[in-house]
């Protein structure tokens, strides 16, 4: 009954022509249009993701095909003609004459693929366990949430390294290169599910006591259907925010692992591997081999993170 503050029902209801126009006019998009940081972050993220996806078409060289390497063009400076071959490389080349720009594009492809896959894996695991813990309660909840607590006491990098180490000893040597990527996804995903589970459990606890859930129980809907069709759609907002921020963290985690030498191999380098290789050249003055991959990682992680921050504010009903 109290009508203090900004009640949503007080906001005028308008009639709009079409779905697109309605979306353009929605509070969400309006908020986006008014936030320069969000726009810049979105543009940078989009450009980086697109250039990673279309790397085979954009990249001037095939960095992982040894046949195209040109040892003579090794250690070229960026935008300076090579002293032997006279070729010009946008971001220079490394010792073996690989084009840095191309390796970054391909590296980003691997980094983003691992990041996205790890987050999706963590998301599915976290949402499932969170829904179960929140809706079923009792011992199920106790076990799941204690598992989450234990997980939180271990630094996620450590967990990832542990899983990676176990996988390395279990998998025969000749397959290791091929499965490294999947082990990384598993390792990063497993260290990341807790925040999804916690948020989903919290929201589920609130939603399950709402009357629409009781109405569904009343007509004989089982717990599975209620979790999937009724509660899940209502917990997705916070999940989306966490997923975005997790993506940035997953990319960094992958880079860290690769940098530490427990990630992608030099034959299939991710951004982290490139940085790891590049730092060896820093003292010899070939700065570009390190700086360009590092700057790319920074730009990617930062813009995704800023996007996540904005998303959190935009979806927070209390701030709207």
């Amino acid at each position: 009954m109290a009508d203090t503050g900004l009640d949503k029902s007080l906001v005028p209801a308008h009639r709009y022509p079409g779905r697109l126009a309605r979306m353009w006019d929605s509070d969400f998009v309006f908020n986006f249009r008014k936030s320069p940081i969000a726009i810049v972050a979105a543009v940078v993220t989009l450009v980086l993701i697109l250039s990673a996806i279309f790397a085979p078409w954009i990249a001037p060289h095939e960095p992982f095909n040894p046949a195209t390497w040109d040892i003579m063009s090794g250690n070229s400076r960026p935008m300076v003609p090579n002293e032997f071959t006279g070729k010009v490389f946008l971001m220079g080349t490394d010792e073996q004459g690989r084009d840095i720009f191309s390796t970054i594009l391909y590296g980003m492809r691997i980094s983003l693929f691992i990041g996205f896959s790890a987050v999706i894996f963590a998301m599915i695991l976290g949402i499932t366990l969170g829904l179960l813990a929140g809706y079923v309660g009792g011992w199920t909840e106790t076990i799941i949430m204690r598992m989450a607590d234990i997980q939180l006491t271990l630094p996620s990098i450590l967990v990832a390294m542990l899983i990676f180490g176990v996988a390395k000893t279990l998998i025969p040597f000749e397959y290791q290169d091929r499965v490294t990527m999947w082990v990384l996804i598993l390792a990063i995903g497993l260290s990341d599910w807790v925040q999804f589970a916690r948020v989903v459990r919290g929201t589920t606890l609130v939603e399950k006591n709402k009357e629409y859930v009781q109405a569904a129980r009343l007509i004989g809907r089982g717990p599975g259907a209620i979790m999937l069709y009724h509660i899940l759609p209502n917990v997705l907002n916070p999940v989306l925010v966490i997923a975005t921020i997790s993506l940035a963290l997953a990319i960094i985690a992958e880079a860290t692992l690769s940098f530490l030498g427990v990630g992608m191999s030099p034959t299939q380098p991710s951004l982290g591997t490139l940085i790891s290789q590049g730092q060896q050249y820093l003292l010899s003055g070939d700065w570009w081999i390190l700086v360009f991959p590092a700057a790319t990682l920074l730009a990617l992680a930062l813009s995704v993170n800023l996007l996540g921050d904005w998303l959190r504010d935009a979806l927070n009903p209390r701030l709207r």
């Binding site: 009954m1 109290a2 009508d3 203090t4 503050g5 900004l6 009640d7 029902s9 007080l10 906001v11 005028p12 209801a13 308008h14 309006f30």
Partner: protein, 325 residues
């Protein structure tokens, strides 16, 4: 004639949104005299709480007072800086909200909250304040007040908590109390107790009360005069007996007739069609005309007149006719 404590002149509260400027309170004027209880009644979205919040300077941004004046004991208070307003809120205006827990600090003993408020606003010593705190709790009907003074808010029941809030609101001897739905969360039997208490204390002390509620029954029991609000405007104002027995505005009349109390054994209730318009989509002319059984062309075109003869309506109900009918 008792002196006027609160006087509101042409108060307009606006909320700028990106699509339109909303007016939850539009040109509202009323006075409250010492010892008088003015009921402000309306349905959700009528702007009754917003008007109360504007008086005590507690509007949430971006809502703000656009124009008009609020005078407390003859002094303007609508343009005071926050610092001074905070002082006035404790000293000259007491507040009672629907949820007692919003007015009580959960971490402080209620005795400390009472003495602190008194020490801040009254010129008395600490031991005097402590004695007065016990007296204040006894006055609002809390049994074993001398012991309960050391309890925390969560140790009281809902009704008892609301009594504590009333004691707190009255302890600095304010000249005005604003009670926003003080009994809505309480059971019927407790509601009757709280209303009786509020009435008794304000009569004794000559405190003016603005009682904001949606419940016509509470208005009838507690108030001397009543202001009916609809879509941010005053629809009707007058003594409770006049407004409730001989409503002039069709909205008041419909509101009275649609309570089940008025059904008198009929199978169907009188109903007002439709619902309160949203602030961003107010109809032209009189905001009530789409729901009004008596609406004519004038009502659709021209905004309702200011309160002449007590009702903001082009065609107020002729009470003489009604009596004869």
């Amino acid at each position: 004639m008792a002196e006027t404590v609160l006087s509101i002149h042409d108060l307009v509260v606006e909320i700028p949104t990106r699509r339109a400027v909303l007016r939850p309170v539009d040109n509202v004027s009323y006075d409250i005299k010492a010892g008088e209880i003015l009921g402000v009644v309306g349905e959700s979205g009528a702007g009754k709480s917003m008007a109360g919040n504007a008086v005590i300077g507690l509007l949430n941004r971006p809502a703000h007072i656009k124009s008009g004046q609020v005078l407390l004991n003859g002094t303007r208070i609508d343009n005071l800086p926050d610092e001074k307003m905070r002082k006035i809120r404790g000293k000259d205006i007491g507040m009672v909200f629907q949820d007692p827990l919003t007015s009580l600090n959960p971490l402080l003993r209620i005795g400390d909250q009472l003495t602190e408020t008194m020490l801040a606003h009254l010129d008395i010593t600490k031991s005097e304040a402590e004695d007065r705190a016990v007296a204040a709790l006894e006055e609002v009907g809390i049994p074993a007040a001398a012991e309960r003074i050391n309890s925390y808010p969560h140790e009281f029941s809902g009704g008892m908590r609301q009594r504590v809030v009333i004691a707190l609101a009255l302890c600095a001897e304010p000249s005005l109390i604003i009670a926003d739905e003080p009994t809505t969360a309480l059971d019927v039997s407790v509601q009757a107790q709280i209303i009786a208490l509020l009435k008794r204390l304000c009569r004794q002390r000559g405190t003016a009360v603005m009682l904001i509620t949606h419940d016509m029954g509470v208005i009838a029991e507690a108030c001397d005069r009543v202001a009916v609000m609809y879509a941010g405007r005053l629809a009707e104002i007058g003594t409770v007996r006049d407004v409730l027995t001989e409503p002039k505005h069709p909205y008041t009349e419909g509101l009275m007739a649609s309570t089940p109390l008025a059904s008198k054994g009929q199978k169907r209730l009188r109903q007002i069609p439709g619902s309160m318009p949203r602030l961003g989509a107010l109809p032209t002319g009189c905001a009530f005309h789409p729901r009004c059984p008596k609406a004519q062309d004038a009502c659709r075109m021209d905004p309702a007149p200011t309160l002449e003869n007590g009702a903001a309506c082009w065609f107020p109900i002729d009470t003489d006719q009604k009596v004869s009918a």
